[in-house]
């Protein structure tokens, strides 16, 4: 395989300014004072070799330098140190329709944008009909672009960009625009490019997308390359880095939280990675009377010493320790599991539904919910624990999404639920050309 993109020892330094001096006076004054800017390394000694025909994902949290790297490959930024070599024609989809001028018509903009992307007028003339058809703008192509909806704008931008026929395609989360139908079209076009052995570099926040289309994934953390390999391992590294940060942040928050714990006033949405909890949870928390108190909640899994997450299908226990000062007879312990991406309620169960009625409690005790197998894929899953009466009229204690567990998907399955699946294929005619789905 020949190398299509060769990133060698690349570093990029920016001058960080609280308030950038954009006037001459400010520049002079600041220089004299010797204050103002501090150097900031957005990328540090990054070396990546990408073979022709590969689809590479760049993954990293905000400010990890992934977009900077993409811009460097695209020639939009120049490295402070090191060298980037790219073979072939590059088309960058960093923003759809970036070159559009609102006063010009769609037709005029196609020619202008195409020229910006490096196409000759002749080439554009032969592809013009394809572009318009792909963008589904047959009726509006001679309308000024300022009258376009944002969807039409993006469609035309994408249509021009993919018709450039690049050797190297750079994509920066642009696939997130447009309706579902259009997104699908974009992905189809990307897979076509893959079939034609074009090199693709894509920046995205979505591990799912990476798993689906990338041959290898590079993970950046604070400007350094921390992993470059198969999507499964790279995404795991990425999430481990993310988890470390979350744990630190939570520890800080917890410390702050415990200071305030003494006074009884509680508010919703304490768990900071969880989406703001439902108002239901907040009211439940507000209603509790503490006749039965939750003293401790522990989320346990067999490998917790070695890793802070579980793999799909592994067991999980939720251990609830409680205390009651006086005997309480009408008690139900319940748990709820949520998806922190959209706050959706994934699963709920309680002792009553499990047919394990708690007759009465007095003094300290323990309830353990043992989940044999967690059928979930990638994600952070907050847990709510409640102690209440059978009719839920009385809430003794309630912990709204203060605890959570993480699932890491080592393979290339996509989505939220890990369904056991097998596949049978029977072919009747000549097998069609294979796709990248394999």
């Amino acid at each position: 395989m020949s190398v299509a993109i060769d990133v060698r020892d690349v570093s990029k330094r920016f001058q960080l300014q609280g308030d950038r001096p954009s006037s001459l006076k400010e520049r002079v004054v600041r220089r004299r004072r010797g204050t103002g800017s501090t150097p900031f390394w957005a990328l540090r000694d990054v070396t990546i070799e990408i073979d022709a025909g590969e689809t590479i994902g760049l993954l990293g949290h905000n400010g990890s330098g992934k977009s900077t790297l993409l811009k460097m490959i695209g020639g939009i930024l120049k490295p402070t140190e090191g060298e980037v070599r790219v073979r072939g024609r590059i088309a960058s989809l960093l923003e759809l329709g970036a070159g559009f001028h609102p006063e010009l018509t769609g037709r005029e903009n196609v020619f202008l944008n195409g020229a910006i992307l490096g196409l000759s007028k002749k080439q554009l003339e032969t592809r013009f009909d394809d572009i318009v058809e792909f963008a589904e703008l047959e009726g509006f192509i001679d309308t000024q672009v300022r009258n376009y909806s944002s969807g039409m704008y993006a469609r035309l931008g994408f249509a021009v960009a993919v018709n450039v026929d690049p050797d190297v395609l750079l994509i920066d989360e642009v696939l997130a625009v447009g309706d579902e139908n259009f997104q699908r079209k974009c992905l189809d076009r990307v897979s076509e490019f893959q079939q034609q052995a074009k090199t693709i570099v894509i920046v995205s926040h979505s591990p799912d997308l990476m798993r689906k289309i990338c041959s290898r994934v590079a993970v950046l953390d604070h400007g350094r390359l921390v992993a470059f390999g198969t999507p499964g391992t790279a995404i795991r590294t990425f999430r481990e880095h993310l988890l470390e940060q979350q744990v630190e942040r939570r520890a800080r928050l917890e410390a702050k939280h415990s200071d305030q714990q003494s006074d009884d006033a509680t508010a919703a949405g304490r768990g900071d990675s969880a989406t703001p909890s439902l108002s239901h949870g907040a009211t439940q928390e507000a209603k509790r009377n503490f006749k039965v108190r939750i003293t401790e909640i522990e989320v346990e899994h067999p490998h917790q010493d070695r890793r802070p997450y579980i793999y799909p299908g592994e067991p999980l226990s939720i251990r609830i320790r409680f205390d009651a000062d006086e005997p309480v007879s009408d008690v139900v312990f319940g748990i709820g599991i949520y998806d922190n991406r959209d706050g959706r309620d994934l699963f709920g169960i309680n002792t009553e539904l499990l047919g394990r009625d708690v007759e009465s409690v007095s003094g300290p005790g323990e309830v353990v919910f043992e989940i044999e197998s967690v059928p979930l894929l990638d994600g952070t899953y907050p847990i709510t624990v409640g102690v209440h009466s059978h009719d839920e009229g009385t809430v003794y204690d309630w912990s709204e999404q203060r605890h959570w567990f993480e699932v890491m998907n080592p393979d290339r399955r996509v989505g939220t639920v890990a369904m056991p699946v097998s596949v049978k294929v029977s072919v009747q005619h000549q097998p069609p050309s294979s796709t990248l789905a394999s």
Binding site: R87, L94, E95, G99, D167, V168, A197, T435
Partner: protein, 315 residues
């Protein structure tokens, strides 16, 4: 989501050809490029230059009723104002003032509009610069190109002025217009490229240029005659030629207007207007300015090369 059914069946995976084509066109992105490298890129992207010039022309008068007629009206309005001030109020006594003024003014318009629009070229196209790669010097050069088209449009006004006043052009000198134009384009490109880069880092540049262009205009013999001032400076008249645009406008005036002497003054001696020198004198001056412009252009591209690496962040 990317399933087998969504891939069009008629596209056979032409793995080999695409990869081979990629190998033929290596692009190298380094921290620095040579001046020659920049030139090569501009040549390779000449179609973009043409497209951007076309855009500039389309956009400038978009929505205005008179459209590009404004390009023609502009020198006419200047002509009216200067005629009133110099010929009516000050009685400068330059014969056929219209042709005299226009022959210098059109060149100046080309120069000044290149610089004024070129200064904002990078900042105004920020969305583009941040998101798409192309040689950035194309942007200020497109402004120079658009100004050149306006220059040609304004030549129509000049042609009318020549026809209406039945002014004859001296064929022995008129060809000076061409080298003058080339030198002027070199000079305008050098300044536009430099100013476009400077304006990204210090936005005052634009306002500074606004003011300086006004001063520069009056320091250039366009509305008044060169020899009028040169005769007063005597031996030190070479000072006026330090202004590079002077040599260009003089060549333009010699080529189109052509008359070196005006009407007799109060003392009966004809008033000197432009240097009564032969073609070689004008060519020599243009040559000096042209060489200087080339050096400036190289310097401007070097500055631009240093600056452009951070354009996307500074805008």
């Amino acid at each position: 989501m990317i399933a087998a059914d969504s891939a069009p069946a008629d596209r056979s995976p032409e793995t080999g050809t695409a990869a081979d084509a990629a190998l033929e066109a290596p692009t190298l992105v380094m921290s620095r490029s040579s001046v020659l490298g920049h030139l090569r890129l501009v040549v390779r992207y000449h179609e973009l230059l043409v497209a951007l010039v076309r855009k500039e022309l389309k956009v400038r008068y978009k929505g205005s009723t008179l459209g590009f007629l404004w390009s023609l009206l502009n020198p006419l309005l200047y002509l009216a104002v200067f005629y009133y001030v110099f010929e009516v109020v000050l009685e400068a006594g330059i014969p056929n003032f219209a042709v005299f003024l226009l022959s210098g003014l059109l060149a100046w318009n080309l120069f000044s509009s290149s610089l004024l629009t070129g200064t904002g070229a990078i900042v105004d196209n920020g969305a583009l610069v941040k998101k798409v790669y192309f040689p950035r010097e194309i942007l200020p050069l497109a402004n120079v190109g658009a100004s050149l088209i306006h220059f040609f449009l304004q030549l129509i006004v000049m042609a009318f002025a020549l026809v209406i006043t039945r002014w004859s052009v001296d064929p022995a000198y008129v060809w000076l217009v061409l080298p003058a134009l080339i030198v002027l384009l070199l000079l305008a490109s050098a300044f536009a490229i430099f100013l476009a880069a400077a304006n990204v880092y210090a936005r005052d540049t634009r306002h500074l240029v606004d003011v300086l262009m006004l001063a520069w205009f009056w320091l250039t013999p366009i509305a008044y005659a060169y020899s009028l001032l040169a005769s007063r400076l005597g031996d030190r008249s070479w000072v006026m030629l330090l202004n590079p645009v002077t040599s260009v406008t003089l060549a333009m005036q010699r080529g189109i207007y052509g008359r070196t002497y005006g009407n007799p003054g109060p003392d009966g001696v004809p008033q000197a207007l432009i240097p009564d020198e032969n073609q070689l004198w004008y060519l020599r001056n243009l040559g000096i300015v042209g060489a200087g412009a080339l050096i400036l252009l190289v310097l401007a591209v070097m500055v631009f090369d240093r600056a452009e690496g951070n354009f996307a962040e500074e805008i």
